[in-house]
């Protein structure tokens, strides 16, 4: 067990050990380069064009929760953590990031995620593992810090983490636990990994600046969304809704948008007649959100398509646009092809998954191809993307309205 975790190298073993005496330290050595991680470790990746990219296997990681601490001694424990640390260390925090889950073993998994998120987003992490159905009423807490060498390469930058295990009736203490551990003056982002359930505690929602969730995991989209919207209404301040299912689409949206940056290509908005979107197993909602985005931004209306393999829409000139939905593979979105009267716009994921190949072609011309970043369907990458973007989510809400009945 070690409360301070260091990144990027062996020299910190001594510091971690000296800080916590005889406690064993296990450092996590993770590639920091841009070499893509293979979906399977045995081979390289291939783009749709047939280019081969070398990959490396993802390293295995083990992590612990840190130092157990009594609830009323958390502040003192954190101070001690810093007073006893050695070497050049800086505590950094830009946000309070609370993570709530009811999954068994979520504390360890989320600690692992937070360690990686904190590398790019210094934060006060509050990780909560809850089991409201437990017959025992129990509460436990741990403190730790995630440290990595900053860009300047001389100083370790550390983010604190406080972890809580709440069982039985103690789960109701969630708001008071979160509120008492906030780094003052910093915004509170709550990453809610479980299903929303009634009653929604208005006291909790009133403190949240951003509510992060992943609608891809929802079985009943409308019921869940209703609860989120209720919470939003009851909050005294405006909560920004951040759906990681929407974040998954960022790179596909950028890739499709860039076809139309030049005003002379805008006539295609009226001329798109059909499209095909390929999505992975359990990612139908992601594909539908993409269609919702097109509809919202291009002024299309959904005419029908609930549960079918295609959706029919009507564009602003009342012409029909038919989008086929095909489930294939594991990637959230594998490809999207749109046809206007004479041009084909194509985006496809390279097999290694971190690049998109985009092309625009006329029937009489060879296509111009380009590679763009694809992002990854990985919780850390999605959260990093989300935390970097900031701002309101007006386009998301508009897109949602367009396809709500289809989700």
């Amino acid at each position: 067990m070690f409360p301070l975790r260091f990144r990027h190298g062996i020299p910190f073993v001594a510091q971690a050990s000296s800080l916590w005496g005889k406690q064993a330290s296990r450092l996590r050595l993770v590639s920091t380069g841009v070499t893509p991680v293979c979906p399977t470790a045995e081979d390289g990746c291939t783009t749709p064009l047939g280019m081969t990219i070398n990959c490396m296997p993802a390293p295995a990681e083990t992590i612990s929760l840190g130092l157990p601490v009594a609830i009323d001694r958390i502040d003192r424990g954190l101070k001690k953590l810093w007073s006893e640390s050695e070497g050049a260390m800086t505590r950094a925090s830009m946000i309070n990031l609370a993570v709530y889950s009811e999954e068994p073993d979520s504390l360890t998994q989320n600690t692992q995620l937070l360690a990686r998120i904190a590398e790019n987003h210094a934060c006060r992490g509050i990780v909560i593992g809850a089991n409201p159905h437990s017959k025992n009423d129990r509460i436990e807490a741990w403190i730790s810090a995630h440290c990595h060498v900053g860009r300047a390469g001389t100083k370790q930058v550390c983010s604190e983490q406080i972890s809580f295990l709440l069982e039985g009736a103690k789960v109701k203490l969630l708001p008071s636990i979160v509120f008492s551990q906030l780094d003052s003056d910093l915004p509170l982002y709550l990453w809610w990994q479980s299903k929303f359930a009634e009653p929604m505690d208005p006291q909790l929602w009133s403190w949240i600046d951003r509510l992060i969730y992943d609608s891809q995991t929802w079985r009943d989209f409308n019921a869940q969304m209703r609860l989120v919207e209720t919470a939003q209404r009851e909050a005294k301040q405006r909560i920004v809704l951040c759906d990681l299912n929407w974040t998954r689409l960022v790179h596909f949206r950028v890739a499709f948008a860039q076809f139309f940056d030049h005003p002379s290509s805008h006539h295609h908005f009226r001329e798109i007649e059909s499209g095909t979107i390929v999505f992975g197993k359990n990612f139908r909602s992601t594909a539908i959100l993409f269609i919702g985005w097109l509809a919202a931004q291009l002024g299309w209306e959904v005419r029908n398509g609930k549960n079918g393999d295609h959706i029919e829409l009507e564009n602003s000139t009342r012409n029909r646009v038919k989008i086929d939905l095909q489930e294939n593979g594991d990637a959230p979105i594998g490809s999207f092809v749109a046809h206007s009267s004479d041009v084909k716009f194509e985006i496809a994921l390279a097999r290694c998954g971190d690049l998109l190949e985009v092309s625009r072609s006329k029937s009489d011309q060879s296509p111009a191809r380009q590679l763009l970043p694809a992002g990854e369907n990985d919780s850390v990458k999605l959260m990093s993307e989300e935390l970097m973007r900031g701002g309101q989510r007006r386009v998301y809400l508009r897109a949602l309205e367009k396809v709500r009945d289809l989700l």
Binding site: G33, V34, T47, M51, I53, T90, A92, M94, E119, N120, H121, A122, G150, R151, A152, K155, V157, V250, H251, R253, V254, A255, F256, A257, Q258, F260, D261, H262, P263, S264, H266, F269, W293, L294, A296, Q297, L298, G299, S316, L355, V358, R360, A368, R369, Q370, L371, L372, P373, M388, G391, R393, R394, V395, Y396
Partner: protein
């Protein structure tokens, strides 16, 4: 939307995805494509933009230079140097796609036929790569080549864009070596390109922290009310480097620190610190305010130059415990050179806001460490209560670190814990590298993207450049007089000559310890 956005020429699909103007498809023609700037900065910057997905797909880069070379040789050379100088690791797959946009056009800069064939090549790229008739000409060649290049571009019809397209020119510093030559250069440029087509690059303005100066000042309510002569005692701007001339002796001998750094980079930083709030964030609103700062610089009378400007040159010394030669012993430097490698100045701005607030600039080579920063020194609190035995350290100082270790710090007074009342300065420190894990893009990445987007905010305008030269000329002309103050000397590895310390000591101040 959407439809309305499209009618206004805005891509509705970009909403919420990008807060900056989107770069447009174009052909980038680099004159001087075999030179250092292309290899070290421009192509690595373009590669990084491509790797980050910021570069439009329809961009083609044409290297224009004299040396005979095939396209493959050109691409291979650039591949090697990009691996060496790129901010992020070069991926073979991305390089392979990106390098398909690179081609080489061999021609003498004076050869008209080379430009006629360039026209054909660019038209071909419009067809093949969809560059849509947009042209960005980057002058990475020696300044003496600018005129023939500009004349030939005009003669070939390349300075004028086709309808619905644009043609822009990026010019690297130096923008002249005095007011007359800057005016002449601007005249030559304006014969071929209008001012709104001309982008004068000053890479200091592309730095994240330089851009953050305006955010710090105008997005925070606490600074602007005290950002004036009533509360600010003085300002110091320092650009120190440990390096010597490093192979630039030929140029440096004709320029010196005043022309090389003060006329452009330091005065640009001064403008950002001292300007009034612009009416909006458009390029011209910001540049209108910046040029007013340069105009308001109080001109020195010839007899004042000795008193308020220090020029100096480094002698033999040591940097990081390594012996280094004197400037006059450097390769290609005249052994009797009078070129200054260090300048310190005391400036005043004749504006209501800055009335009688001294601004001290210093720039030098072979100083003990490399650092560029602006420090704003506030007036002391009244000398009653806690400040009876006030020392200089009792001032509040706001420091904006431009490079390295970008960030902002604020020095304030605090009570030392204990039963007695002892007060000491403490520092609140914000580091970009600590708070934001993501590395900032290189200045050239941002500036190239801005030029492709048509955003000239971070580029110098003609009047700014000429006003700055007008100010610098008064100093240069005094230095060229027979009775000019003698050049002073400082050992390499020191913080400059004693005269620079005296410059502040006369006002009862000292340079900030870096």
């Amino acid at each position: 939307m959407t439809n309305r956005s499209a009618e206004q020429g805005v891509n509705p699909l970009r909403e919420g995805l990008s807060t900056r103007a989107v770069p447009q498809p174009c052909a980038i023609v680099i004159f001087g494509a075999t030179g250092d700037l292309t290899h070290r900065k421009l192509i690595p910057a373009l590669y990084n933009l491509a790797a980050d997905g910021e570069l439009p797909p329809a961009v083609a880069v044409v290297g224009f230079a004299r040396r005979p070379k095939t396209g493959d040789e050109f691409r291979n050379e650039l591949g090697e140097t990009t691996k060496q100088f790129s901010r992020q690791e070069v991926r073979d797959d991305i390089w392979k796609t990106f390098s398909q946009s690179l081609s080489y056009h061999q021609s003498e800069f004076e050869d008209e036929s080379g430009y006629r064939s360039l026209v054909k090549r660019l038209d071909q790229l419009d067809e093949e790569r969809g560059t849509r008739g947009n042209r960005l000409f980057y002058f990475a060649a020696a300044p003496e080549q600018f005129e023939p290049i500009l004349k030939n571009l005009k003669a070939a019809g390349l300075s004028k864009a086709k309808e619905g397209s644009w043609a822009r020119v990026i010019i690297e510093k130096p923008f002249g070596r005095d007011l007359a030559s800057a005016q002449e250069l601007n005249r030559v440029v304006s014969n071929s390109f209008s001012e709104d087509q001309t982008y004068r690059i000053d890479h200091f303005l592309g730095k994240e922290t330089a851009q953050n100066i305006l955010v710090l000042r105008f997005a925070n309510a606490i600074f602007e009310p005290i950002w004036n002569a009533r509360y600010i005692d003085h300002i110091q701007i320092t650009a120190a480097e440990t390096l010597g001339v490093e192979g630039r002796a030929g140029y440096y001998e004709t320029a010196g620190a005043l022309r090389d750094m003060v006329q452009n980079h330091l005065l640009q930083l001064l403008c950002l610190v001292a300007m009034e709030a612009p009416t909006d964030l458009s390029a011209d609103s910001i540049r209108d305010e910046k040029v007013k700062v340069v105009r308001s610089l109080r001109r020195y009378r010839p007899e004042e130059i000795t008193k308020w400007v220090v020029r100096s040159q480094y002698t033999v010394g040591a940097i990081n415990a390594e012996p280094v030669p004197a400037y006059r012993e450097e390769e290609k430097v005249n052994p009797n050179s009078e070129t200054e490698t260090y300048v310190a100045l005391r400036l005043l701005l004749d504006t209501w806001r800055w009335s009688e607030v001294p601004i001290y600039l210093r720039v030098g080579k072979r100083l003990p460490k490399s650092a560029t920063e602006i420090s704003v020194h506030f007036k002391k609190a009244p000398m009653v209560l806690f400040n009876r035995d006030s020392a200089e350290h009792d001032q509040n100082v706001l420091v904006i670190r431009i490079q390295p270790d970008e960030g902002i710090s604020l020095r304030m007074m605090a009570k030392i814990p204990g039963t007695s009342l002892r007060i000491e300065p403490v520092k609140m420190d914000f580091h970009y590298g600590t708070s934001f894990g993501k590395a900032s893009p290189e200045a050239y990445e941002r500036l190239l993207l801005d030029a492709m987007s048509g955003d000239a905010t971070l580029f110098a305008r003609r009047d700014e450049v000429e006003e700055a030269w007008g100010f610098i000329d008064t100093i240069e002309s005094a230095w060229s007089n027979k009775d000019a103050p003698p050049l002073t000397y400082y050992p390499a590895g020191s913080w400059g000559p004693e005269e620079a310390d005296e410059l502040l000591a006369r006002d009862g101040r000292t340079w900030r310890r870096l």
